[in-house]
Symmetry: D2
Subunit: 321 residues, 4 copies
């Protein structure tokens, strides 16, 4: 197993099967990836608003990649285990941008006056960034580190890094986090993995459109599951299996996430589709990952402890869940 450092000279702004790989890795390698923030480090102070820093910028959300995973072929599944996410600078920004965010109307649908822009600068409380503080709010919050974008190149299309979809992409899903393995469908030889948009923390939905945007060094390990085809991103850890659906309107994202989860339970845990549907109805969980991107993303999950047949009705006191 090798150690591979992926420190890019430049970035890509498309999930594009035509881009040349920036690294080739083997399954099992320890891969360390540096990512810039979604505004490519242009917003550093409260005076930096989206208008005055991003107006001339053509593309946002710089991606590190693509990384070619040796052995991955179309029809396989790429399994990406997130070992660690480190924050490589002392602050994170979050901004309100005109005509953007969940509390703004969808762009080009509305004649209301946009609200004012506003930038917040969150500072690390401790060196590792376990807690973050924002002076204007005068509050501190714990980290919830994850990568907002996590993608393979789509089949044929070259899609903006602002977009989520079956290929992963800009899901802004807080469960793309250390300790979890993310499964993505492989459409192209090598999978062609991209990531970026590191977040030190985020609420469900990424409500204003910007989380605690910061730069990261991330430790990943790739594996390839040969011949297994999935249709939407899946996430797993010791306790849970999770699926992400991205669509508009949001009910379709919710349904897609649960549809993939029902199929997963059916395929891997020995339940019929009807049974898997009933299990999700009673112990499924589903939260909003993003309500601000080009498609909304929802994450549905179920705990593995519910996915084992008991072999008969337990007696009172026997069940511990």
């Amino acid at each position: 197993m090798a150690i591979i450092n992926v420190k890019p000279d430049g970035y890509n702004y498309l999930f594009n099967p035509a881009n040349a790989p920036v690294a080739y890795v083997d399954p099992g390698d320890d891969v360390f990836i540096w990512t810039d923030d979604a505004a490519e480090s242009r917003i550093k102070t409260k005076e930096n608003t989206p208008s005055n820093t991003l107006a001339q910028v053509k593309f946002l959300n710089p991606q590190t990649g693509p990384i070619y995973v040796n052995g991955a072929e179309p029809g396989d599944t790429l399994a990406v285990t997130i070992k660690e996410i480190e924050f490589t600078r002392d602050f994170a920004f979050s901004s309100f941008m005109a005509n953007f965010g969940a509390m703004a109307a969808v762009p080009r649908t509305c004649l209301q006056k946009p609200n004012d822009e506003h930038t917040f600068i969150w500072e690390k409380v401790d060196e590792k960034g376990d807690y973050w503080y924002e002076p204007e709010l005068d509050i501190a919050i714990p980290k919830r580190p994850f990568l907002g974008t996590f993608a393979v190149a789509p089949e044929g299309e070259a899609i903006s890094s602002l977009t989520p979809g079956p290929f992963g992409g800009n899901m802004d899903c807080p469960d793309i986090a250390p300790g979890n393995t993310v499964y993505l469908p492989v459409y192209n030889p090598g999978g062609l993995f991209y990531t970026g948009d590191g977040h030190a923390a985020q609420g469900d939905g990424e409500l204003c459109g910007f989380a605690l945007e910061t730069t990261t060094k991330t430790h990943l390990v790739f594996n390839v599951i040969k011949g297994q085809t999935i249709y939407n991103p899946r996430i797993e850890n010791e306790e849970k299996i999770m699926c992400v659906g991205s669509a508009r309107p949001m009910e379709d994202a919710c349904r897609m996430a649960y549809f993939e989860l029902i199929n997963w339970i059916h395929d891997d845990y020995g339940f019929t589709l009807d049974e898997a549907y009933q299990i999700c109805a009673q112990v499924g969980r589903c939260y909003v990952a993003n309500v601000v991107d080009t498609l909304w993303s929802m994450c549905a999950s179920v705990e593995k402890k519910y996915l084992k047949r008991l072999g008969g009705k337990p007696k009172a006191g026997e069940v511990k869940l």
Copy 2:
């Protein structure tokens, strides 16, 4: 303080300001309410499907109420604290019904063939119903007791008990649970409170349209907050404040829940609207309560520990959240 037992002779199927109260209570009284299940106890075995038990039934989701709370006037807020929910029978049902549920299309929009119906019967593992077991699935799950419908009579309208809205109603929100206080806007003298649709457990979204449907005895205490007007249901416990939005499409339910939450933080915790928006963006949580009723419901929340100004940046090691 009195003890009031509300054991109805019959039920209402509308949240209707014109219905005669079934009880009058004072703020602070210990009110015990018996509720029937959403199918009015017609589904008792696996052989009872929605088609063969509910086809001739005109109205579903029987409600206990209205309860008149002395002193509540339009413009006030009704605060309802849920002390306990007991399950008053040994089983709960959940069914798949043709053309109903999140994995079915919206009724009268689709020419696909409906899926088969299917009834699951969940049995108590222990006397109190801390755990429930379903023989066909051969799994057990813990209780998550709550009331699917929790409402005041709307302003003017008489609305089906299948519908959620600003008045509460059929939100199917698992946080309408013991230990929590629910706030509802008062539109009519006495508030005119209704409840029903007791659930022993439910996944986020009530995916197939039926949770663990059972009968309950619920202990509530009502209070009236004079002169405080809210616009959507709010929920509170020691740790969190939560709001429910009900709308279609689901993104509007999400936005309404967060909009109410942002206003709550602004009104009661001394933050500007901008600050409240930023706080929700970074530490808000938002899950699907229902994706099967006439409107979808979302529940957004924030933990209270984030709603206190610290009086300056803490030192490393000082923050414990």
Copy 3:
């Protein structure tokens, strides 16, 4: 056949099965109905904005009715033929209202600043109101007279007159117009018909939320189709059959309108469902009736000339459509 004049002393603001009828009519009677405008004649000049005239008003959209049609029973269809709509005053208003209209966000979902209010006063060019002129715009437009609300009392519920649905209601559909017959499902004895919200003209969607709002005298003739049950409003004239679907999101309104239309073609014109679906796919028409009310409404139609089997392939030159 009698002549019945329905000049109300007051109005209803709910489609409510509990309201006492204001008139009883027989099928075939010539019924003349006076309607007030949606703001109950409070907006008369450019200085009258929604804020300064409607802020204290609890209920909008006054309805004339209910009219009890003798012989109509639940499960029947009420057929209402619109003979004529006369405008009973010289002007119509249309206003922009804060947080209302298609170019505003859905209320309570958005922190953008609302746009300014603005009232337009349209004046009759000729006595009958065939053309209307607005001085600020300095343009004239032809009449497109119709009734914005056209309803029967729902089954059980009492619903705001601002809402459309299977019972008709506030569809704001310009084909509820002279020369057309509107079919509504009967849920209550007598049908309990309501109408109001007269429009001298309106664009598709009623974009700003107010059409050319004016007062009317309308000539209707009611008939009852015994034992025919429909599920959404239907409209017919010599050339076309049309159906209205009301829902959110708008694609569901579109699908409901076409679903009802496909079933109509199947039931009455001798085509299979598959054939009716194919016909709608190739010669159906579908426009936005409203994108501003509590549910959006869409109107789908097909011309009757396409609904006759030809008895074999015609020769070139034989078809005239």
Copy 4:
């Protein structure tokens, strides 16, 4: 002015700025373009269903292009006048496909059983295809010739030819028709124009997902409007100006179409935004172009005769509209 024939050897399935132009044309040239049908002529008989002809096919909707228009630069607008659309074969197909079409649920959201597939073959009644006949239906319909896809290459992205958007694309809008000029924003040098998906006729919405799909020879003339930037496709003829919005949910497509139209009226006809909004509210028209593609498309329009100030209120009898 030259005559340019664009008869492709092969097709593209992406609107892709990286594709090599298949032709270079000057503004004003008479350009004749041959297009294949959306299934690349694989469906020719009733026995050819989507499953048995398209299952192994990776990409649908073949596009002729890109055509490089000399002089077009990013920020300009490409004006494409459609002179004529000829049908180059004797039949058109339309099919029902499993899990596709407006009467099917959105893919991967639903556990209902899909409906049966079904292919209809429409035959020309006359040589030019003014009328078409389908033997199973035994009806004839008139032509409504147009190009389902009409696009420029997007900015950066390479997008599936199944998708509509600001760049045009798979709008399935029946007003992309002979006699009309379509305006598209230019994102790349030469504009890089694509077209395909010729339809002999289609209902509003392309309900089952396939119109009368046939092969065409189309006569186009390109022009470039220097320095004019538009944000969504616009269409114009002597009588009307029209705009297309593509989005989900459908209300956003409707709002985008009207938003672009309001801005057009404001920019080119001397009305304020408020005035343009009021005009659209009263005389705008808006129909569904597609409710089956990856985004829904709506077409909003207004007649030019309403866009001229009259210079004072006309007298009765003076207005003729």
